[in-house]
């Protein structure tokens, strides 16, 4: 019973193993959904590919680095203008993408010369840029182009440039998750330890698994500045390529997104003995807990308490105002993976919201262990949910708001359900104390949205009127 076979899945019964309905008094360890498994073809899964996990999610965030995508044009086109990660240098990372624009002759005769030419052209056209990541894609992996050898040659010819290579074609793994892994491991093995940082504080850390979505990294950086902690490497929000070569000198690795970036933290621990500390950066209670843990590590508890007190004094009244108006509301979260467990309890504790259904695109079983432990009973936990399942689940749980991507947001709009962008945010940042007030505000504005009520009115039926929404000035 706790594993659920939805009606729309009667012809793909294996989906039962991926959908769990948490019931009281159950040993949840017995009912972990299968995750990170092969996708069923034709299901209209939400998953992306391993290449995008490396380029779009992690590498493409870097603010000073040419992203050279060795493949046909689509892989570059498609992983450009689809993310909201600004930088403090004018968003170089969002403005440009590079492709070797592979053609048939390169497929037949090999594409290494084309890659070398494209790399040199890119450096020639933007002479101030000296760093590059080269990614392989499905066809260049299949024909066996040696991108590492090409990168070596270009670095030899141009002594002032540094190039990192990521060999992770779209077909590897089952989702974007594989790409996170490949990039993490490649970076720590090939690039970390190749530059030395200037140490300016006795408290140093790497902040791992935060991609500066709508300024998350920059907001949290104000906390680290106030605490006197030097962040050696942000992996990879608003980061420079070279900063991430110095990660081996930090005293602590603080991990936010464990799914995309836990691997590098583990390797830094194994190779350099740097301890790993996992925190949640979304949510008041979680952020305070995170700050306390970090400060405890460095023995600067007082500074931490002062920061928390200042932030709470400033933001808690606003948060509580929203909590008063959001409590009891039902939320669904359909995002990548970790945000399920980052958010379910924080929206419950801080905003009184009940998360009634959650679907993960690329989470692993350990993500489901976390989210099921933190999440509520009567809630659906779905691995790799597909479109028909979403319709059925919406009918079952009737959410007031859905945190998901803009495309699915357009779909649920037709069902008169407002969405909040759970990937790129509506109006973030969402991390930290201030950020969670932003999340609360966007949720309020979505839930208390007059249009959804108006949409339900059939004007041919005289007695139908839109429900009156008591919107108040926040």
């Amino acid at each position: 019973m706790p594993m659920v076979l939805l009606k729309c899945d009667k012809d793909i019964p294996e989906r039962e193993k991926h959908i769990y309905l948490k019931a009281p008094d159950e040993d949840t360890r017995e009912y972990l959904p299968i995750a990170n498994a092969a996708t069923i073809p034709g299901t209209l899964s939400e998953r992306g590919c391993a290449f995008c996990g490396a380029k779009l999610v992690i590498g493409g965030v870097l603010k000073d680095t040419i992203q050279m995508i060795h493949g046909p044009i689509g892989c570059a086109y498609d992983t450009w203008h689809t993310k909201r990660y600004p930088t403090d240098n004018g968003h170089f990372n969002m403005k440009y993408v590079w492709s070797t624009d592979m053609k048939e002759s390169h497929i037949v005769f090999g594409g290494e010369k084309r890659l070398e030419q494209s790399m040199n052209e890119a450096f020639d056209e933007m002479p101030e840029v000296k760093r590059m990541i080269v990614y392989t894609t499905c066809p260049t992996a299949l024909i066996g182009d040696d991108i590492k050898a090409v990168a070596k040659k270009v670095m030899k010819d141009r002594p002032d440039v540094d190039v990192f290579t990521v060999e992770c074609p779209g077909f590897s793994g089952v989702s974007q998750s594989k790409g996170h892994h490949v990039l993490n491991i490649g970076w720590v093995n090939e690039k970390v330890g190749t530059l030395e940082p200037e140490i300016t504080s006795e408290y140093t850390m790497n902040f791992i698994g935060d991609f500066n979505i709508q300024g998350d990294t920059q907001l949290l950086q104000t906390y680290w500045d106030r605490l006197g902690i030097q962040v050696i490497g942000h992996f990879t929000g608003n980061a420079n390529y070279d900063d991430l070569r110095k990660m081996h000198r930090a005293k602590l690795n603080v991990v936010n997104c464990a799914r995309s970036s836990g691997y590098i933290a583990n390797e830094l621990k194994k190779q350099y003995g740097i301890p790993r500390l996992d925190i949640d950066s979304w949510g008041f209670s979680y952020m305070a807990e995170g700050v306390r843990k970090i400060c405890a590590f460095f023995g600067i508890e007082e500074r931490g308490e002062q920061l928390i007190a200042e932030e709470e004094a400033k933001w808690k009244p606003k948060l509580d105002w929203y909590k008063e108006r959001l409590k009891g509301k039902k939320m669904a979260i359909w995002t990548g993976g970790p945000r399920l467990w980052h958010w379910t309890k924080s929206v419950e504790d801080d905003l009184g919201i009940k998360v009634v259904a959650m679907s993960s695109k690329f989470g692993h079983e350990e993500d489901f262990e976390k989210v099921i432990a933190r999440g509520q009973e009567g809630t659906y936990y779905i691995d790799d949910g597909n479109e028909l399942e979403f319709f059925e689940i919406i009918d079952l749980v009737k959410p007031d708001v859905i945190f998901t991507g803009p495309r699915v947001g357009e779909l649920v709009k037709k069902l008169h359900i407002p969405y909040v962008n759970g990937h790129g945010y509506h109006n973030g940042p969402y991390m930290g104390f201030e950020g969670f007030v932003n999340l609360a505000r966007d949720t309020y504005n979505a839930v208390y949205n007059p249009l959804a009520g108006l949409a339900g009115v059939d004007i041919r039926v005289p007695e139908q009127v839109a429900p009156i929404l008591l919107r108040e000035a926040a």
Partner: protein, 474 residues
């Protein structure tokens, strides 16, 4: 001032050449499978099945959602590593059966290949035969059309991919000529719902029975009281079958669907009229006159008046605000050429045209590009296989000064960071609201486009305090 120089240019020249670089910085087009997916979603009860990595469909769905603010159903065979090694035809078979079972209304599945599955060499035609056997066994009463669409990403672009998929669906569905139906087949190319609605209105006003392929009117779809989700093309299987019986075909876009018009002529003797894409007044005149000639229906007073209203509006703008303004245009080839012709009608000077794929040998032979030579009184450069860096670098290096950029949203940063007014037109235009609803074709489209250009220039005059007082008395 450039006006005088323009007047004395003794031998204005149209220079046509390919981009000199091999690699691409900021692509103008997506790859072939993306275009094929766009053609597929234009058909009712059709879900394209993309045979490749998951990113090949996931990001294209996102792209369509960005442009139309709608969700479209597109499936993937979710090619994983073992298929890349041992072949992926089983994934196609499974995907087709899963779609057929879970979507009982489904009637068409274009099976769209990608770079990876073309490199692997999966036999799509053979797989379709085995799928049809399996479908007959499972659903003896049901006809499901499976169209093989070969769109390796390392050839052509989204433009050729669109054309390829349209042709394949017609070849798969339009099998025989029966009774003449007196209708016109109209292939407008890759246009917005606004253009489809305009063409339908024109045909209605002329009393001409016509089918638009693809009929994408519902890509602008409503929120309805009954929560219906209507986001799909309105071209039916019957419409495609019946295309063989048409009076004539009008192919309005040489590179987008034009090949299908030629195929219908060759196979079913439906006369094909390849027209200049009806952007601007003269191109629209030519189209309506030809339709009138072919159908015997007179051009109605209403369209004569609409033409007059458009001219009346254009006359207010052309020689006062547009004359001698230099314009760069990029986007789909039929659009770029048509817009250049439109610009000349309203005294704008399109000095740089960028067309973005490897089909240069076709563009060089395009009679419309050749004809531009006789029309321009200034030097014009046409760059094919172009990327957006061709535009940006000319501007930042000071080689080109333009007063206006016309193109899609992927080039937005060129305008923003170089302080050049930009009018969004083409696909995608995700950074402006509602453009998919507006026509660009026909008299109304020419008028609305010109007014958009004027208002963009006016806003720029105001923001930059550049003779904004002229508008006091306009």
């Amino acid at each position: 001032m450039s006006d005088c120089e323009t007047l004395v240019n003794p031998s204005p020249e149209v220079k046509v050449s390919a981009k000199a670089r091999g690699g691409v910085i900021n692509p103008m087009y997506d790859c072939q499978p993306a275009g094929a997916q766009y053609a597929g979603i234009g058909v009712t009860d059709c879900i394209p099945l993309v045979h490749g990595g998951q990113g090949c469909s996931m990001f294209v769905r996102l792209l369509f959602a960005q442009h139309f603010k709608e969700n479209f159903d597109i499936a993937s065979t979710s090619l994983h590593e073992e298929s890349a090694v041992f072949g992926g035809v089983r994934r196609v078979e499974e995907g087709v059966m899963v779609l057929a079972k879970r979507y009982p209304e489904l009637r068409v599945i274009p099976i769209i290949t990608t770079c990876s599955t073309e490199v692997i060499g999966d036999d799509i035609e053979g797989t379709i035969r085995s799928c049809q056997k399996a479908l007959k066994a499972e659903f003896p009463e049901r006809e499901l059309y499976l169209a093989p669409v070969h769109t390796p990403s390392f050839k052509g672009s989204q433009v050729t991919g669109y054309s390829e998929c349209v042709l394949s669906m017609f070849k798969t569905i339009a099998k025989e000529k029966t009774q003449p139906n007196g209708k016109l087949n109209i292939f407008p190319g890759w246009v917005n719902p606004g253009d489809v609605i305009l063409l339908k209105r024109y045909m209605k006003e002329m009393g001409v029975d016509a089918k638009i392929f693809m009929d994408t009117e519902n890509f602008d779809s409503p929120m309805m009281p009954d929560k219906a989700v209507e986001v799909q093309g309105q071209t039916t299987v019957e419409d495609i079958m019946d295309s063989a019986n048409a009076l004539a075909t009008f192919a309005l876009a040489r590179y987008e669907g034009g090949t299908t018009g030629a195929w219908l002529e060759k196979t079913f003797e439906v006369p094909n009229h390849l027209m200049s894409t009806p952007y601007g007044i003269a191109n629209t005149d030519a189209l309506l006159r030809k339709i009138s000639e072919v159908t015997g229906k007179p051009i109605p007073e209403s369209l004569v008046r609409e033409r007059g209203i458009a001219l009346d509006a254009l006359a207010d703008l052309a020689h006062m605000f547009f004359a001698n303004k230099k314009v760069a245009i990029y986007g789909h080839p039929d659009l770029v050429i048509g817009l250049a012709e439109f610009c000349l009608e309203v005294e704008l000077e399109p000095v740089l045209l960028l067309i973005g794929d490897d089909q240069g040998s076709k563009y060089k032979k395009d009679p419309r590009i050749k004809a531009l030579q006789d029309k321009v009184h200034f030097d014009m450069e046409v760059v094919h296989n172009a990327d957006l860096w061709e535009l940006e670098s000319r501007i930042t290096k000071g080689e080109l000064k333009v007063d206006l950029i016309m193109g899609h949203s992927k080039g937005r940063y060129i305008a923003i960071y170089n302080n050049i007014p930009m009018v969004r037109v083409g696909f995608p235009t995700f950074d402006r609201a509602g453009l998919y609803r507006k026509p660009t074709m026909g008299y109304q489209g020419a008028m609305e486009l010109a007014e958009n250009i004027a208002n963009t220039l006016f806003a720029h005059m105001e923001y930059t305090k550049d003779k904004e007082w002229i508008l006091n008395t306009w």
